[in-house]
């Protein structure tokens, strides 16, 4: 069941309390991310796409199906759009157990010629829900609820998955775990998705294209690695700092740490990172905060920090409050963003083109 060209054509206007949601998007990204701080209109946008808000004006079509066209008073109701919507608070049905929740969309799946039993089995397997199936919703933890809500949407045979802040209600380690589930879902099911998030790291890990919303307008648009490096975005995302996201292959498993290799053409970069579940050969997503990286102009000796990789400064960026260096570690790998002080830039006379070393501790890398 391969769907080619899920084309979004969206033009939307909707006055909200403090600003107007006003945006246009036309594209065919399978994984579309919508980034913005809270109150930027991203959840409202998702609700308009879902059909849960009827007051938007403009038009919306998905894969050639017209979902809304306000000048012709055309509005396809939410139950006819065949979407899988996973809201931030999950909203599982409290009168049914986990299995009952997963099965609630069975009728629609069958109506659309989907083999429900097979889909159900696959969802249970991918999201590791087997042991939760007979549990009541009130006996599930936050991460488990998230997985059941995701499974419920997947089981109903949607043609588009809408995720609203899938990780926001979870903390630290759990966030990583659910992120891995989301990646698994992305790689297992041939489904286009729209993911709303205020966390650049999540969107970099998941999406092939992002829209950055600010006060209801599209501020930037493009490939996540590039968009999140653009100057204006730093300030939009300032509360969280910038996180460098990269994918590596697990090559060595130690007692407390593991080694990740990042391919970069000629030779691989090896990084020592905290222990992660998995076997040699697994692909692992890691992130590194921009202010956890040091820059050295010569190769440092006798350091406790385990990671020291050669790089070249590409650019020095400045925002209102902070300075960043963008350092390339290889042509096939996204560049790293390093936060610096003005003094450091001056004293090391950092400028584009010079060779440096990026230094960071094992524990600074989050996997």
């Amino acid at each position: 069941m391969s769907k080619k060209g899920y084309v979004f054509d969206l033009s939307l206007r909707l006055p909200l309390d403090h600003f107007e949601l006003n945006l246009e998007y036309k594209g065919s990204a399978r994984m579309l991310g919508v980034f913005g701080v809270s109150g930027s209109g991203k959840t409202t946008l998702l609700e308009c796409i879902a059909g849960l808000r009827k007051d938007g004006r403009g038009h919306l079509s998905f894969s050639g199906e017209v979902w809304m066209k306000s000048e012709e008073r055309l509005f396809l109701s939410v139950d006819k759009r065949r979407i899988g919507y996973v809201p931030q608070d999950h909203w599982l049905f409290p009168h049914r157990d986990a299995r009952g929740n997963l099965e609630i969309g069975k009728q629609r799946a069958l109506d659309n010629g989907i083999d429900f039993e097979a889909t159900f089995q696959r969802v249970v397997e991918v999201l590791e829900l087997e042991t939760l199936l007979d549990r009541g919703v009130d006996r599930l933890s936050g991460g488990e609820r998230q997985r059941v809500a995701l499974g419920r949407a997947l089981c109903s045979g949607p043609q588009l998955l809408l995720l609203d802040e899938p990780l926001a209600s979870l903390d630290g380690a759990l966030r990583r775990r659910i992120l891995r589930f989301l990646i698994k879902v992305r790689d297992t099911f041939d489904l286009p998705m729209v993911v709303v998030s205020h966390n650049p790291m999540e969107l970099q890990a998941l999406c092939s294209e992002v829209l950055v919303l600010e006060e209801g307008r599209v501020l930037e648009q493009g490939i996540p690695e590039e968009v999140f490096r653009r100057k204006r975005i730093f300030d939009t995302a300032k509360d969280q700092g910038f996180e460098n996201v990269f994918t590596g292959v697990l090559t060595e498993i130690g007692e407390r740490t593991v080694t990740l290799e990042i391919e970069r053409g000629d030779q691989a970069i090896r990084l020592r990172v905290p222990k992660v579940e998995g076997v040699v050969g697994d692909s692992v997503i890691a992130s590194l905060a921009s202010d956890d990286i040091l820059i050295a102009i010569g190769k440092p000796e006798g350091l406790s920090a385990r990671n020291c990789i050669p790089a070249q400064i590409e650019e020095i960026e400045e925002t209102e409050s902070r300075q960043f260096a963008i350092a390339s570690i290889g042509s096939s790998v996204p560049s790293f963003v390093v936060e610096l002080t003005q003094d450091a830039i001056e004293e090391l006379s950092l400028k584009p083109g010079i060779d440096v070393y990026l230094v960071f501790k094992t524990s600074a890398v989050r996997v």
Partner: protein, 210 residues
């Protein structure tokens, strides 16, 4: 019987009052509540005028005789009208406690509006609705004023627990009156207690799901 007469329009009206906002909602809600605050005899008199042969629901307007007055039908009508507000108010709270987001979720999973109502809202509000029906039942059981006016107090035909108790007391038949009192106490206690338990549990169940 009364419970059934009240339940269907009661659920519909309660749902509409809980979910929709429309012009005249306040007025509709007030009219619904009126029988609760009016003297029961006033409601009875109103019904009498309505069903009298020259009333709106009488022989002259309808063209045929509904034959309501002084029959068991009159009892049902009087009890229904009097217990309707109580049912609607309780049912409305039950619906309001079900978050509309849950209906939205059902809709997003392919449910039409009716299906979302029957397989999500109704089961989630069921405890509250049963409580509403029980309350309506007790109210109907205690109905006296309106019933006496349009149905009279004919033993074996239109006599209710309330009117039978009245007759027994008036005629000095104390042993009958005592027995009726006991029945009334028992039925009243059981239903109110059950209602309390139902509403408390449903609140707890829904609180945990948010």
């Amino acid at each position: 019987m009364t419970c059934l007469v009240v339940a269907v329009p009661g659920i519909a009206l309660a749902y509409v009052l809980a979910r929709r906002s429309f012009w005249g909602k306040g007025v509709l809600s007030t009219i619904t509540t009126l029988p609760l605050v009016l003297p029961p005899t006033a409601v009875g008199y109103l019904l009498l005028r309505l069903f009298a042969s020259d009333g709106l629901m009488g022989e002259k307007v309808l063209g045929f005789d509904l034959d309501v007055l002084l029959t068991w039908k009159a009892v049902v009508i009087a009890c229904s009208v009097m217990s309707f507000p109580l049912f609607v108010r309780t049912a409305r709270v039950a619906f309001e406690e079900v978050n509309p987001r849950l209906e939205d979720m059902g809709r997003s999973l392919g449910f039409g509006a009716w299906r979302a109502f029957t397989s999500i809202t109704l089961p989630l509000a069921s405890r509250g609705l049963i409580a509403a029906a029980l309350l309506a039942f007790t109210r109907a059981l205690g109905e006296f004023g309106a019933t006496v006016i349009i149905a009279g107090n004919i033993p074996g035909q239109t006599q209710t627990l309330a009117s039978a108790l009245f007759s027994a007391q008036q005629s000095g038949n104390e042993s009958v009156a005592n027995r009726l009192l006991l029945v009334a106490l028992l039925v009243g206690f059981v239903t109110v207690y059950a209602t309390e338990r139902l509403t408390r549990k449903s609140r707890k169940a829904k609180g945990g799901s948010r």
